[in-house]
């Protein structure tokens, strides 16, 4: 999946991973990344995300849903960090309590936001990526 031009510069070298079991969110976040010219892959649960990394995928930023079947976002984030993955991992959740948010962050996230994300929010996250 490739994108076009963007005001972020040479963003075609940035690769992202959307991890979410909700097809609406996958479609929405895919369109947002595409509008920014970002290449991306999709995973429907945490295990697929971990398997992608194990197969050698080079990913700069991960948008990780919290609640997913098979392997949830917290478990996947812990697993990725234990594997030595240093990609930016952004937690995305519709759970509202501070406690749940803090627990997700403590799994190894760089950021955590309510879903759905916005193009502006994604853009600000991408500006921090060195590639």
């Amino acid at each position: 999946m490739s994108g076009g031009s963007s005001s972020l510069g040479n963003v075609s070298r940035i690769s992202a991973l959307i991890v979410d079991d909700d097809p609406v969110i996958r479609k929405l976040h895919s369109a947002m990344l595409k509008s920014l010219g970002i290449q991306f892959q999709l995973a429907v649960n945490g295990k697929e995300a971990v398997d992608l990394y194990r197969s050698g995928a080079n990913i700069h930023i991960v948008f990780m849903d919290m609640e997913m079947p098979v392997m949830n976002g917290m478990e996947a984030t812990k697993e990725l960090r234990a594997m030595g993955v240093s990609s930016i991992i952004v937690g995305v959740s519709s759970r509202c309590s501070d406690e749940e948010r803090e627990e997700f962050i403590s799994a190894g996230l760089d950021h955590c936001y309510a879903k759905p994300l916005t193009v502006a929010k994604i853009k600000s996250l991408l500006e921090g990526i060195k590639y």
């Binding site: 097809p23 969110i25 479609k27 369109a31 879903k115 759905p116 193009v119």
Partner: protein, 147 residues
């Protein structure tokens, strides 16, 4: 054609007008506008595609929720998981009234009020059906104005 355009504009505005309840309720909120802003020449039917996925997913979830509500004992965790997904999906496309109906159903389930939850679920189903019908009519009108 001018009448048709006016109908399209009026119908679209009605989605964002607040129904005078307490609290005031709009059918759609700003997230729907964000959705529309993602539509472009390369992806001209993006909004219709996303809402189509939402409705398809929602009806599957409603069926599972209804089945679970009729079981004894009720698996509240499973119920909340599917209602949570419905809430996420409806919020993502800006389906404000649907999202509020989901929350009402979740509250009833959390309180263990299954009779109330079943009634709320029927209202939720009505809201989803109503939104689907409204959007289908709207996009049919739009297609007539701009084929």
């Amino acid at each position: 054609m001018a009448d048709l355009k006016e109908q399209v504009v009026a119908m679209r505005q009605s989605f964002f007008d607040e129904v005078p309840l307490s609290p005031p309720l709009e059918i759609l909120d700003n997230y729907f506008i964000q959705l529309e802003q993602l539509e472009n020449e390369d992806n001209p039917n993006f909004v219709e595609e996303v809402v189509s996925v939402f409705f398809s997913d929602s009806f599957n979830h409603l069926a599972i929720i209804e089945e679970e509500m009729n079981k004894s004992p009720v698996d509240y965790l499973k119920l909340d998981r599917y209602l949570h997904q419905l809430k996420g999906g409806s919020a993502s496309i800006g389906a404000n009234k649907v999202k509020i109906a989901v929350n009402r159903t979740r509250e009833d389930c959390k309180e263990g009020d299954m009779e109330g939850a079943r009634a709320s679920l029927q209202e939720l189903r009505m809201e989803i059906n109503s939104l689907k019908a409204k959007l289908e009519t709207y996009y049919e009108l739009v297609a007539q104005v701009d084929p």
